[in-house]
Assembly symmetry: D2
């Protein structure tokens, strides 16, 4: 039927061009939702991105924990930016779909999402996101995500 | 091995007790994230719930469309409350996991999510969420979600 | 960032070219797994395909019901062929991923899977699969699937 | 709302009671689909199970590779038995749902699936499945699965 759209080489976190790192920082700063969440880029490596956001009243579900939607949104952004570290300079990654399992109530001072490219490809990228809460210096996993992104040509900024 | 945890009767939207409708309205008003989003309960029927939120700068991705995370969070809440219309008075539904496909860019004045119970059960509930943008009186689908919830006993409010 | 890869027109089941119907029948007959399952093409319309397979000892789980893997495999093929009805003559659809919820034990004489294209696109296709058991002339839903396919150019047969 | 259904301790592969190992071997031997596939239990540890099946004409898609449905079915069984290593003697795990990403064409002599419990719980278990092809002594990943199982009481054998 077809040729594979996936390269044979798994992503290993590595260094990133300054241009791409700048493009990601700019793109992130333009995401109104990340600003609303008070989220920040903690780490941007080739194939792996870490985001964090503090707890606040504005991101809760009805019992005061982080809302599952905030957990999903942070993981979504982390996976999306991880994919963006692996594509060409004139390309971007569009989220096609994701699945997330919520493993534990998201109760803590801070939410941290680590997005990691599992399989880079010319057409599709598969990424994994793991979300943790941090409390008193300890980290506990609260969710895991599996995402498919579609690589698209961009006309301007990512 | 086992007994089925699912009833044989598919959910048909229907009327809801006043007590359960009140409990859902109260729970929704306590979700800080829904308040942050300016989201509202448009319709609460037995087995089906509709939520809406207006576009604002605070819920965007980098090109000014609704962020995929906002799309996911609204669908998440719609499915969760749809499940809550189908459980006993001393029960609640915890989101175990969901998968969402983003079908089109979420560009419009308003985001609307309709959550609907596909399969009620004593232990698990399966729900479907469909998300639309509304613009100039027209509605376009932008995402579809499939969610599994776990029925749990509650000690107090849902 | 990007242009949408999805057309605005939802798939409506409709008629199919004879050439494409033949290509699908030929492809199906080459799937060793479908032959092993004794599966058959019941209906092939534009955007929608129905497959069926009889119960046999060779497709069971440990209690004699249809194995969840057989349920998934039949839905997988139904969605894949549904997608194949919507692409160009020199194109095929590769399964990128799917999620399936098993709703009830798959106990019956026959398993039937209906695949339906939810969103056709130039790059990606989203399809839904619903699986039923038939017993004594009655049909009961046992699973629902949501699948993403990637459209690829083919050099020869699909 | 609720109490967590998940224990705080991640699964570490470990030793298994002889009774539970026997029960798993017996259950596996009763799965007609696994017999049809010529599949075997390669390894059964607490929290982790490995299955293998040889290539044959009877498990192919239309180009002679392993059918995606066979890939999914083997991963499904591996995750299911991994869950079964973590529940009580009078309990079993029912597959509620899974998502699978197909990463590369499944072309090789043998398919190997490794199921691993990510999060054990009293009510729900989350498992991950990774599927590989083996060819000429080399192993290549072809798929990854994320599964949710529901813990149920059993009356007899699992």
């Amino acid at each position: 039927m077809t040729s594979s759209n996936a390269s044979a080489v798994p992503a290993e976190p590595g260094s990133l061009s300054a241009a791409r790192a700048d493009a990601i920082a700019t793109s992130f700063s333009r995401q109104g939702l990340m600003t609303t969440f008070g989220a920040s880029l903690r780490r941007v490596d080739r194939g792996e991105v870490e985001l964090a956001m503090p707890w606040s009243d504005g991101v809760t579900q009805q019992h005061g924990f982080f809302h599952g939607g905030a957990v999903g949104a942070l993981a979504d952004s982390a996976c999306g930016y991880a994919a963006l570290t692996m594509v060409g300079e004139d390309e971007a990654g569009l989220t096609a779909e994701y699945k997330i399992n919520l493993l534990s109530p998201a109760q803590g001072e801070r939410l941290v999402a680590v997005g990691r490219v599992l399989k880079p490809g010319r057409t599709l990228i598969v990424a994994q996101g793991d979300v943790y809460v941090e409390q008193d210096g300890r980290r506990k996993q609260v969710a895991t995500m599996l995402m498919t992104l579609c690589v698209v040509k961009t006309l301007g900024h990512v």
